[in-house]
Symmetry: C2
Subunit: 323 residues, 2 copies
């Protein structure tokens, strides 16, 4: 895969996804001690970048494959994305979701007209449930991250970010990308490869499947630790995702819950943008010492904004002093 695949995806997605704004927030620059260029994918359709990959993968199917319906397994935003793709392309979707999925995400999937099947709490359990449904009633699986069409679709967010920076006359030293299964990261790595922009994955402490795999030189599994970032808890990153990442990533960074909460609150107070904890991961890393000081101009992917209002309220109250 190379940049041409992402460009082709951007052409296919034209008019179907939002060209989200690139946002500058001077107060956050001051806190980070760097210039931050924030890509607001929380303003994307369904509130997260996942709309890009799912729509792109569905657009690449034959009409026959689409007509059989779409299936997937997801803890949240990819579920909404596949539901949106099915509605938009005139077919139906069946989605295996965890029994502990945030209510706001369950409601959103159902509001888009998809059928939800609740299945366990791990990714393996819901994948098994989706495969069982597929064996029984047919349909086309749209996997959450380990697929070339998904990666190319997610890469369009980075393609836009780089274009929007170029319009400002800016070339980035680094780009920080939240990492779950590695779809967004792999897409970013492909777009930035050879460009002089160093791409870093960002994961919650204890959910660092990508960072550990990069360090080991091979995919390793983790037992995900508890984290505020419910979207960044895969046991393992994708195979294709890792094969791209190991060639093209500058490294894997880790952020803890305190840093995630602080980044979410600071972005809300100073930048007026709401992200979910997973969506704050890259910003948290940009405001930490983990990123080399030589990275002065830094792109930050704000990956999504689907979060329970009660959690936002409690983080705002807890963090009043740090904002």
């Amino acid at each position: 895969m190379d940049r041409s695949h992402v460009r082709a995806a951007a052409t296919r997605l034209h008019g179907r996804v939002v060209r989200t704004p690139l946002v500058r927030v001077p107060a956050l620059d001051a806190l980070a001690g760097r210039e931050l260029f924030l890509k607001a994918e929380n303003l994307q359709r369904i509130g997260a970048f996942k709309a890009r990959g799912a729509l792109h993968a569905a657009l690449r199917l034959t009409p026959e494959a689409r007509a059989r319906g779409l299936l997937t397994y997801s803890s949240g935003n990819h579920a909404q994305a596949v539901a949106l793709a099915a509605r938009e392309l005139g077919t139906h979707a069946t989605i295996a979701m965890p029994t502990d999925a945030p209510p706001i995400k369950l409601a959103a999937v159902r509001a888009l007209g998809a059928e939800v099947v609740l299945a366990g709490t791990t990714s393996a359990q819901r994948q098994a449930a989706a495969l069982e449904i597929q064996a029984r009633q047919g349909g086309t699986m749209i996997p959450p991250f380990d697929h070339a069409d998904i990666i190319a679709g997610q890469g369009t967010a980075t393609l836009e970010l780089i274009e929007q920076c170029a319009e400002l006359g800016v070339s980035l030293d680094a780009l920080l990308v939240p990492c779950g299964g590695g779809g967004l990261v792999a897409g970013a790595a492909i777009v930035c490869h050879g460009s002089g922009t160093a791409v870093y994955s960002v994961e919650p402490v204890g959910c660092d499947a990508m960072a550990r795999s990069l360090e080991a030189g091979a995919r390793v599994s983790v037992e995900p630790a508890p984290t505020l970032a419910d979207g960044l808890k895969p046991v393992q990153v994708g195979e294709l995702n890792f094969s791209i990442a190991r060639q093209a990533l500058a490294g894997g960074l880790r952020v803890d819950d305190d840093a995630l909460a602080r980044a979410l609150v600071r972005l809300l107070v100073h930048g007026k943008l709401l992200v979910e904890p997973s969506g704050a991961a890259a910003l948290a890393a940009a405001m930490s010492d983990a990123l080399p000081p030589s990275c002065r101009r830094v792109g930050v992917l704000l990956s999504g904004g689907n979060v329970e209002p009660s959690l936002v309220a409690s983080l705002l109250q807890r963090s009043e002093a740090v904002a």
Copy 2:
């Protein structure tokens, strides 16, 4: 004044203010029963549209007038805007602010390098304080709303909104604009005059100086009632503002605190954008019966986002059920 004045202001402001995004949120459209086109001036410099008018007015001064320093009186966002204009144009600013101004707004003005003088709680008290300082030490007053250069600058937000709608092939039936002293409203009225887009001012119940003046056919004063919308509490709208409004507004709408709180929370949950209560006024009206049902495509000015985190937390908790 006509549209050419606003176009000239846009040319002067080019590169100095943010062309804020026009945001579409399907969930809000569904709640409103209309198509809403949201102009996100909460993402403007200093977090509010006021940066436009103040920078424009300061740019129109002679170098000598600028060098004597800028003065103003404001309860909040205009104070930050004048502080920004002074810093940007290499001069100093002295700002009379109310003793009960939100701490977040006081801190922001000081962070921009301006000198703050605390003076009473009413607009008249702080205007008197600013005039007294001017008499003593000189300087150029940048009034908050009742001035052609301010109105032309604020009008650039509407000019962009109309252009951004045109890029989508959309012409608006109506445009809803929060109204304090009437700077943003007068600018919008000038831009939309004769275009087929009906402009409505939106004020808090009991702070309805514009609506009452429109109904009376002459400027009337009000004793502002308590409201969540601390930016929309003038005793009287501006003289020039009213003379424009009476010729060009379709009417004045009113929203209560419940509607403001609901709009703020819904925008945050569904649209991922934080506004202050004043900034939610137009959205609150768009989701109410006050706007004629014939208004199907409606522009909504989200005027600013500078709000205490603790207030947002409490509104989120109170409104959990309604989101």
